[in-house]
Every structure is written in C-alpha cells, then in structure tokens.
C-alpha cells in the first residue's frame, strides 16, 4: 500500500533522513520507533507532503505521490494525526471534525460519521460546541484521531499518540488504535513508547539518526537484544 523508497529529506543543509525504506501492506499496523530527534516525524511529514523529499520516492497504491501537495495526498486517502495533536484550538469540537471531512461533499453521511466518532470516543460526546483548545490532552488526542478518520482514510499516520498522556489514557488510546485497524484502516504508528507500540503493531522499523537500522515482525523485535537494551530499558 505504502512504499517509501530511498527517501532523503533535508532541513536547509541539515540532512534529517538518509535513504529511508519503509513498506506498509494493506490491513497492517506498522510502527516506527526510535529516540527523540531521529527523524520519525520528518518521515511522516515527507509522506504526507508537508516536506519535500530531495531523493527517493513515496508510492501509495503504486502511484508516485512524492511531489504532490498535502491536500492532494489527503484526497488520495492518507490522513495524518500530527505530533502534539494540533487540534484547531479556536474551532469547536464539531468544527474540528467537519474540517477533517473537508474533502467530502456528502453532507448526510458526514453527520453520521460525526456521530460515529462520538461512539468511538464517548468522552467527546455532547461537547460539540466546546472549543477544542479547552479539552484535556487525552481528549485532544481523541479529537485529532476522530478528525483524521473523518476523511475516511485508507492509511492513517499517527505521530506519537501517547505523548504527554497519563498511562491509563494511553492504554485506552491504543485500544482504539487496534479497533480502528480492525475496522479496516491501515496504520503507520510513530512512537517513542516502544514497548506499547511493538505490542500493538504487526511489524516495526527502528530508526537511529535519520536511518532505519532494524526492521521485522514485532515479536522478533521484542526479543531482539539490541532493541531490549536500547528501547525497552532491559539488560
């Protein structure tokens, strides 16, 4: 479904990604783990078109999307929940969800899907008119995920959904991630919480300083000595 082929990305003169190779197959949850600053967010931004790759290609369902602008990539079926959630703070909850459905024209089904989001995230229910900026961190994460789902994506990119949240809420969010996947959305999950990410995903990639250094099925990665030492705080 998604193929990142030898992608390098720069910020000015600084190279943030070095020939990244990543593959996501339909129906999978694939995770991308690594310490702070290794280039996980940059990888997602390159896929969604916010930053241009200077080398390599991004293919989505066989189509080259490397040079497409972000709004075109959303129309093709890739939706991203950015790092730090980035809800629109001075739009209401409902307006945030409506923006998630910006590319759609089908008014009635949009309204149904808003209700569906409230089913998935009951904590948001009945708070349509509240400004998103007044929600707690966990609620903002839920809203950002609901908003991303409103475009009915085939591939959902999640950037550190656990960031800054209480452990209980993180567990809840990860359950929902699995549920979203069960209902047919393919997921590329970026995380620093390697433990949880590897338990949730089917396959994983480990990044260090702009490069993919390890990859494989998550069971294998969980048992890999290097991973255990560096990311799971063992050994």
């Amino acid at each position: 479904m998604l193929k990142v082929e030898g992608v390098s990305t720069f910020y000015g003169n600084i190279q943030a990604l070095r020939q990244i190779q990543i593959k996501v197959k339909p129906g999978e949850i694939v995770t991308l783990i690594g310490a702070n600053g290794v280039g996980k967010t940059t990888t997602l931004k390159t896929i969604s078109g916010l930053i241009r790759a200077s080398e390599g290609r991004v293919l989505f369902n066989g189509q080259d999307i490397t040079a497409e602008p972000p709004h075109k990539i959303v129309e093709m079926g890739i939706s991203q929940v950015p790092e730090g959630r980035c809800v629109f703070p001075r739009l209401s909850l409902r307006e945030n969800l409506e923006m998630g459905a910006f590319i759609r024209q089908d008014k009635e089904t949009i309204a149904q899907d808003v209700e569906q989001v409230f089913e998935t995230f009951p904590q948001l229910k009945g708070r349509d008119r509240q400004l998103a900026g007044t929600l707690s961190g966990g609620e903002q994460q839920m809203l950002a995920m609901g908003r991303a789902l409103m475009s009915k994506p085939k591939l959902l990119l999640l950037d550190e959904p656990s960031m800054g949240l209480a452990p209980m809420i993180v567990v809840e969010i990860f359950k929902i991630i699995e549920e979203i996947n069960r209902q047919g959305t393919t997921i590329l999950l970026v995380e620093q919480n390697a433990q949880l990410a590897l338990k949730t995903a089917h396959r994983g990639y480990v990044m260090e300083t702009g490069q993919v250094v390890l990859q494989g099925a998550t069971d294998t990665l969980l048992n890999n000595d290097q991973v255990r030492r560096a990311y799971l705080g063992e050994g």
């Binding site: 709004h71 939706s79 409506e98 590319i103």
Partner: protein, 290 residues
C-alpha cells in the same frame, strides 16, 4: 448634539471597520500587513465613480461591480506581489506590499491625474429628522450597507465550510493542509473577500465625502490599519469594533477638541490602547502555537 456626533462617528467608523477587515483577514492568514489595501479602497471609489458617471450605471449595481473588480485587483496583487515571496522573509513581503501600494497610487495618478473628482450624489438629498439626530439618505445607505456587509462576512466566516477552513488555516496552516484544505486557494479567497470590503468602503466614502482622488487611499488605509490593530490584528470582530471606536473618537475629537487634530486623535487612541492592551482590544495576549 452629543448623540449627533456619536451617530456621525459610527457612520465614519463603519467605513473604517470595512477597511480594517481586509487588513485583519489577510494578516490572520499570512501575517502580512497588506499596505496596498488602501489603494484597493481608492480603486473601488474610482470604479464606482466611473461606472456611475461615465457608464450611467445605477448606483447599487455600480457598487457591486466595484466590489467585484476590487476583489479581482486584490487577488492580482497577492498573486504578483506576495505569492512569489511566500517563502521569503516577512520583511521582503512587507516591502513588496509598500511597493505595490505606491505603484497603484501612482498608476492612478498617471491615469486619472491629480485633480480631485467629485462623486455625484446618487440619491435625492433627503434628510431625516429624529428627536436626537438628523441623518441623510446617503448616511443611512453607508450605515446599512456596512452593517449588511459585516453581517454577511460574519455568517460566511462562522457558518460556511470555506469560512471555517479560513479560520482553521489562520490557526494552523500545516494542519489545515493535512485536512485537504488547499492553502493557496484559501489565501486567494481571503484577498478576494477582504478587497471586496475595501472597495465597498471606497464607494461609500465616495458618496459620503463626495471626492475621489488617486491618493485618497493613504489616510483611510492607515486608519483602517490602526483600527485593525486597535481591535487586535487578525481578529474579525475586533476589526469591526476598532473601526467604529476609531470613527467615534475621530468625530468626537474634531467636535470637542479641535478639527485640526482629527487624524492625530486616531493615532493617539492607538497608542493609549496599546499601552494598556498590547494585543488590541479583542486580541489574544500571546500566540498559542502547539
């Protein structure tokens, strides 16, 4: 007498409010002070004037056409003078804006000459008397048109899909583009709407003060900008409030202090309010960028 002055202030202020909206909307989206906005206002006044006098088009139709053409000019200025500088420093864009402003007013001087033109009164010079104030037909037109435009704008920004996308874009461009919003298109629409309001203000001031000149955009442009800052730049209700307050202050200042200082009053008000509320009356104190 006081109520009369208040009324005059509100009428003048409603034209400042319309101009201020253009500044504030553009600033809200691309953080640029569009100095050429005063010239859009001047352009609107000339288009209205020429349509009414040369082509003999009915006033309200001329008014709408002036808005449409003003809109087109605003979009063109954005496309030629600002868009190529989108990724440059903000200072470059600001200088380009000042350049566009001078270019347009000088172009108008070249074409129209420096003689002031007088706008014919499109209505019979009827004056209505109420117990507290008198108001002319022209004044009622200015007041009502501004009011209707402001209500329409509020509806557009608050209720329509594009209006919501505009607000989302103003809050966070990258995330807005991740919603599938085409940011370039939103910027174009913002310039179109802001410029239409500016051109509308030009026509209204044309029929209110009855003179149109190529340099007429300078002072009201500056005051519209002051009004936008007063209200909190980037804030739409703030621009409306700032414009009305500025109009009232100016008229009151002229009536009770000295008519020579009417422009000084605008800037004095700006300084005083910014001393106490640096972000403007309705502005948010600090940028909350997540």
């Amino acid at each position: 007498m006081f109520v009369q002055q208040l009324m005059n202030g509100v009428i003048l202020g409603s034209t400042y409010a319309l101009i201020a909206l253009g500044y504030t909307m553009v600033y809200g989206i691309i953080e640029l002070i569009n100095f050429a906005h005063g010239e859009i206002y001047m352009f609107g006044a000339f288009v209205g004037l020429l349509l009414v006098t040369v082509l003999d088009i009915p006033f309200f139709l001329a008014f709408l056409l002036a808005m449409a053409l003003g809109s087109l000019l605003g979009v063109t200025v954005e496309y030629l003078a600002y868009r190529p500088l989108r990724r440059s420093s903000r200072l470059s864009a600001l200088i380009s804006a000042i350049g566009a402003s001078f270019f347009l007013s000088n172009l108008a001087l070249l074409i129209m000459g420096s003689q002031p033109f007088s706008f014919p009164n499109p209505f019979e010079a009827k004056i209505y008397h109420t117990p507290l104030f008198i108001i002319s037909r022209v004044e009622i037109t200015v007041l009502l048109s501004s009011l209707i435009l402001m209500i329409a704008l509020t509806f557009f920004v608050q209720r329509t899909k594009i209006g919501k996308a505009m607000r989302a874009t103003a809050q966070d461009k990258d995330t807005a583009s991740l919603m599938g919003i085409n940011i370039d298109r939103i910027i174009t629409i913002t310039f179109a709407v802001g410029s239409a309001l500016g051109a509308a203000a030009g026509v209204m001031v044309g029929i209110y003060f009855r003179t149109v000149t190529p340099t007429m955009g300078f002072m009201p442009g500056l005051k519209g900008f002051v009004a936008a800052v007063l209200g909190g730049i980037g804030n739409i209700p703030g621009a409306m409030l700032g414009g009305i307050l500025l109009g009232i202050a100016e008229v009151m200042g002229a009536a009770y202090i000295s008519s020579q200082y009417r422009d000084a009053v605008a800037f004095a008000l700006l300084i005083i309010i910014l001393l106490f509320k640096p972000a403007g009356l309705l502005g948010r104190p600090a940028q909350e960028k997540v």
